[in-house]
């Protein structure tokens, strides 16, 4: 039973990687803008076949290794999906290089209506602040039931589902998960605003992407509130681990649907600015976010220094959180 959750996670990740070529618009294959029918050509079919084979081999081998050896060698739970992902991304870059010979230069015309009208934030952005209230409510509940908190209780579980970190009934021990959640939610809220104001108004993925970030905030808040309340409310591990997941799954499905919608022009950012079909680097583009070519949603323009600031601030916040956590 110990291998069940890692096995399911590995299989799910493998299936997502196998489906990667189908998660983008038909005009884009392995990060290269090609004709809409290119996928049906012998070169297109071969590229997809080679990519899937490169994933399938480590995916099946990894699943077998988890089942047969996972209980004796726990790091396999991370190694197997890690190797599969590495194989997938390496093959993606190789296919990107091969397909550049068939690239179609994106539409170079850009148009702007000269209106100085301001634009309102969509209403659902404000839902991104509700998870903070959820954490504050959890903190108030813990404060009110302080005497019911055991003197020592688990706060972190390993890949095998067994607790591997404990906290004692102290201010830090009880409130740290909520503080960690609050700092991440504030970061995500800022990230949602950056997506809204840092992408083109004509970008159709702007709204679904902001919705996805708000959903991620809710999932995070529910998980960390579950961890913090665990000692008092005695929630089952499975509820804490996956309770908030349906919210983010719904937002991802919507994002995939929107990412596949046909668009005109096909993909304005020039081909030369895409490194390996995955990284957008264009110091001459003021946009902070553009539509991905390697999957769903938006990606940062790494030619903009603010992208680096934004991305570097997340590990710093997580690091601070780990210092605070018991």
């Amino acid at each position: 039973m110990i291998v069940m959750i890692p096995l399911v996670a590995h299989v799910l990740m493998s299936l997502i990687m196998l489906a990667l070529p189908n998660m983008v618009r038909r005009e884009i294959l392995f990060g290269v803008v090609v004709g809409a029918d290119f996928r049906l050509s012998p070169e297109g079919r071969r590229a997809i076949r080679e990519f899937r084979l490169a994933i399938l081999v480590p995916a099946v081998a990894g699943a077998m290794a988890i089942v047969l050896l996972g209980s004796r060698f726990i790091p396999l739970f991370l190694l197997a999906p890690g190797i599969m992902m590495l194989a997938g991304f390496t093959t993606f870059v190789l296919q990107n290089r091969k397909l550049r010979a068939f690239a179609v230069q994106p539409q170079p015309l850009r148009e702007l209506e000269l209106s100085a009208s301001s634009e309102r934030l969509p209403w659902f952005v404000w839902l991104g602040l509700v998870p903070l209230l959820l954490l504050v409510t959890a903190a108030l509940y813990l404060h009110a039931h302080w005497d019911s908190i055991p003197s020592r209780y688990p706060v972190h579980w390993g890949l095998d589902g067994n607790p591997n970190r404990w906290a004692d009934r102290s201010f830090r021990g009880v409130y740290a998960p909520l503080f960690f959640g609050a700092e991440l939610i504030i970061w995500f809220f800022g990230f949602a605003l950056a997506i809204w104001y840092g992408s083109r108004r004509s970008e159709p993925l702007r709204r679904p992407m902001v919705g996805y970030v708000v959903a991620a905030e809710w999932t995070l808040a529910l998980t960390l509130a579950g961890v913090a309340l665990g000692p008092v409310v005695h929630l089952p591990f499975a509820v804490v681990a996956v309770g908030g997941v349906p919210i983010i799954v719904v937002s991802i499905i919507y994002l995939i649907k929107k990412s596949n919608d046909p668009r005109t022009p096909v993909d304005p950012p020039p081909n030369e600015c895409w490194k390996g079909g995955m990284i957008y680097y264009n110091p001459n583009d003021a946009a902070l976010f553009v539509a991905r070519r390697d999957g769903i949603g938006l990606t940062s323009n790494m030619g903009n220094p603010w992208s680096w600031v934004m991305l570097a601030s997340l590990p710093v916040l997580i690091g601070i959180g780990y210092l605070v956590l018991p």
Binding site: P108, L114, N284, D285
Partner: protein
Amino acid sequence: MAGPRIRIDLNSPVPATRQIADGLRVELVEGRLKPGSHLPSVRRVAMELGVHFNTVAEAYRMLAAEGWLDLRHGRGATVVERTQPANASRNEVADYRQRLRELISQMRARGVPPAKIAAELRALAEGLNS
């Protein structure tokens, strides 16, 4: 009716600054951008057109120097009533004539018949007078 628009071609050999300034000048000369109108911020124009902030700021400065725009910090760009400049010098007229000749040659090389070019020029000139 759609509002004033500008369009740029990222593959064009003409620099983006010049394309933006030229596009705006057309809207100003033809009266679709009237005195008192506010232009979008440099940040927004740069973002939507996929160019650097400095590219747009430079185009706005060029038009401000020509007397079309008032640029005040924090207030963006506003179209102003422009005093008619003194008649262009002989050299400037010669320069415009040369540019027109180059453009017309380019059109003819692309197969546009002379009568069609003349009609286009007449329509544009009449549009300016109306």
